[in-house]
Symmetry: C2
Subunit: 152 residues, 2 copies
């Protein structure tokens, strides 16, 4: 009668923390912290996004985004161009230096996925992603619905 299902939260916590440790360890040689790789990877997919777009896509607070990009800029991995059509916002571009380590940075995530997938069938791996996606979608939706920006 023990409600083991509560432990979904515990496993997620463990997976997140260990994943961050792994990524941080693998990337620290490049001066990239564990809080920055997610932005690099997003930009590898689509370069030139604004901070707002990155925040919204990754569901990460815009303050956190600003700080991470500041570090990436300081390390020479991104540069920010003010948009001429809206001077409030930037377009964030990867530099040559960032493109050079693309395979390595992406490889870190691939390797971590392989570590996690040990002993899982292809079908199980597909299912794991599908279920995480559903639960993540639920979490994001819930969060949005409860972000009651009360009018007046």
């Amino acid at each position: 009668m023990i409600d083991q299902r509560n432990t979904i939260t515990r496993w997620v916590s463990l997976l997140y923390r260990y994943g961050q440790m792994y990524i941080g360890e693998r990337l620290k040689g490049h001066g990239i912290g564990k809080g920055q790789h997610i932005f690099l990877n997003a930009l590898y997919k689509e370069d030139g996004l604004s901070q707002e777009e990155l925040s919204s896509y990754l569901k990460i607070d815009k303050g956190t985004t600003a700080k991470a990009l500041k570090k990436l800029e300081a390390q020479g991995y991104v540069l920010r161009q003010v948009r001429k059509e809206d001077k409030r916002s930037y377009r964030v571009f990867l530099t040559e230096k960032a493109w050079r380590i693309k395979d390595e940075v992406r490889g870190v995530l691939t390797d971590w996925r392989h570590i996690l997938s040990d002993g899982l069938t292809e079908e199980e791996q597909r299912l794991a992603l599908e279920l995480l996606e559903k639960m993540g979608g639920n979490a994001a939706r819930f969060n949005e619905e409860n972000d009651k920006t009360p009018k007046a």
Copy 2:
């Protein structure tokens, strides 16, 4: 050909961060931070553990454990008794105040699980836990194996 599977890490990150936000929001009225509930829940399952046992069970750094328990003690939710048979270690006990809110604290996790499970069948929920467990086990095992405490 886009390797969506890398995004396992992204979903885990989202689930972790949103979960922490939800838990923190629900418990802040009791003066319990999002970093402490996991220890309360572990102690509800088994009271009187040492900090080392909690750290090892939850796979959380012993420094983090020490700080979380210090806060819980300051708020009156736990008390720590030095073991007579080993004066280096404590036994951590829940107080009456902690037992009084047990259902509420556990309910937070149950509610969060329900939010995440929206639209999932019973079978999918079972599978999700099973797969998280396997991946979490892989992560923990990997971490242990690579914790090479080099002997001399």
